[in-house]
Amino acid sequence: MSVETIVRGEFEAVAREQEKTLAGLSDDTVLLESGLDSLCFAIIVARLEDRLGVDPFTASEDVYFPVTMGDFIKFYQDAAQG
């Protein structure tokens, strides 16, 4: 399964669990406008660390917080390759 598929799957699963409505997830969707709150992102990051073995927020040398869905997916793709 591709990193992108896993990331998108976690967004959908966490939205469902937390009873949030996702406002569509195109690459240029601003994460904070996706319908998810900080707690949802926190859970997604923890679950992705379990599944992909990386937490790019903590591991990355560059300090960076992704703004769009496309940024977020690329952040994980780059970390998973590294």
Partner: protein, 436 residues
Amino acid sequence: MPRRAENLRAAIAGGDAALIGRERSVALSAMGRAMDADLTGRRILLRTSDQLFAALALIELDGVADRIVICPPDVKPEHLPSVIECAGIEAVAGEDPALAVEGLRFAPVHLPHPGEAAAPSRKTEWVLFTSGTTGIPKMVAHTLEGLTGAISGDGAPQTVWGTFYDIRRYGGLQILLRALLGRASLILSDADEDVSGFLARLGRHGVTHLTGTPSHWRRALMSPAIAGIVPAYLRLSGETADQAVLDALKARFPGVPVGHAYASTEAGVGFEVADGLEGFPAAYLDRDGPVRMKVVDGTLRIRSPRTASEYVGGAALLDDGWVDTTDMVERRGDRYYFAGRTGGIINVGGLKINPEEVEAVINSHASVRASRVSGRRNPIMGAIVVAEIVANDNATLKDEILALCREKLPPHKVPATLRFVEKLELTAGGKLSRHA
């Protein structure tokens, strides 16, 4: 300390600052009366929907009321009777009669109109709630002198404060008092406003000094609207500031000082760190000055004139003058770093969670034999709640436990991950080991 004042109204006199809410702003230069009732010498429960009215009532009542108990926005109505009894409350102040409590006098707070407010005549006790773990929140008593002890100087001219905090809690109240004593304006957040909306408003009103928890800041860094602010000073407190969030802020706002502060409702403002690094210099333990620090059994203790004086109607807060912060610290080289809390208290974005409360809910499921709840480091919220469970695993148990937790607990207390384990370590004393 040029602006030290006997009471808040005296402190703001002569200034031209404003309190800026989402719907309306109030110029403090023309602050007449915001309450009509004479509450001289009374013990007041301050219960507001909107932070702006809380600020107006605090200015009105400081030096007038005997005691002001400040309800945070999330106080549960079922806890009010015990709060009222314990604090000897005589009247409730708020902007909307819907906030009244049956059987108690209600004192409306309104936008100021011209007139003389009640004359200050005493030292008012300020009572705050702890950022609460389980059950009935503890009430912590402060004086204005103690609350403003870390505020020095007149502040830079044209300072405009903004805060992601709520001023009805310790961290936010500090910023309100800083603004008022510095005769600077303050932009208040609104519960119904998202982070991008608030950032846009901060930018419009020209915020210069902006404060929040590391979790607030991480969320702000994910918003494109952060491009609209041009701050001169950034500050973090309320949770451990890690190097990543400090570095991200420095990268986003080159050249802008980024400070992080250690403060708690009980211990008051302990210290500030301005070198851009996480943790704090070990040399702080040897500093002279009003705030003394020591590390006992790996936890940070603070003695200071800014600590709270007592828990209202409860246990002793001070041990020989010292507050046990229950924050554990580890020394590496010439610096101390925060390493969680004693008792396993988990700090999720500034909200404190007692693991035993979550364990009790999990353990109430018939198939669960034991559970251990702990915090897992998280780059978005500082920490999240995770659970290890000893149970006869079956296909639907995980979903059943999560459903139970969601029914009984607010979202931030529900474990983000559940893991089934064979057994849980116990300490020599037979207690669940909190440090796996």
